[in-house]
Symmetry: C2
Subunit: 112 residues, 2 copies
């Protein structure tokens, strides 16, 4: 159920911004916070949530804490999402091909 925490972590826009700032590589907390519309402690709290969701890892360099993207969380999310492509899509496609996007004729064979 690790993907549960990952979804929660990425649901918040500010926290996603924090996460996205790590795309270019590891960065220190103060560096991440700079330019964001929230305080540094807020960023620390967000990083904690991201870390517990295994979306980031941390290491220390002197007085600075560097955070980097952790693939564990990303992999968990991908695996979860992929689980919907197997059985679901077979059944979904059946419906989709039958007349999907807007409000095409209903049909739905099993009329009773």
């Amino acid at each position: 159920m690790t993907y549960g925490n990952a979804f929660i972590a990425l649901a918040d826009p500010t926290r996603r911004s924090v996460f996205e700032r790590l795309r270019g590589g590891p960065r220190a907390v103060g560096d991440i916070a700079e330019g964001l519309p929230v305080s540094r402690p807020a960023v620390s709290q967000h990083l904690k949530v991201l870390k517990e969701a295994r979306l980031v890892t941390a290491y220390r360099d002197g007085t600075r804490q560097f955070y980097a993207i952790d693939t564990h969380g990303l992999n968990a999310l991908r695996a979860y999402l992929d689980s919907f492509w197997g059985g679901a899509l077979g059944a979904f496609k059946t419906y989709a091909e039958r007349g999907a996007p807007k409000a095409r004729a209903r049909r739905k064979g099993s009329r009773r």
Copy 2:
């Protein structure tokens, strides 16, 4: 920013349960609600959120509303997650190989 709503939608455990019940194919609202620990109106509200996030679609059959998985939201999420494998991992690997205690060298060649 459609993935934003998708993350929010899947962040709630109950809503994820609702979503997962669609794995086997389209189901009616009452059918989905049955067995869940919340009321049927609650399920309706969750389905509304999922629909706005383009994670489900709906169609009507008589008095019943059927909901099915929509790939739009899933694709948006996938694309977002994949965007972290490009630049981020290159830089991340630099760190990981530098001395991450447990992390074996990733290799990961062609995943994208």
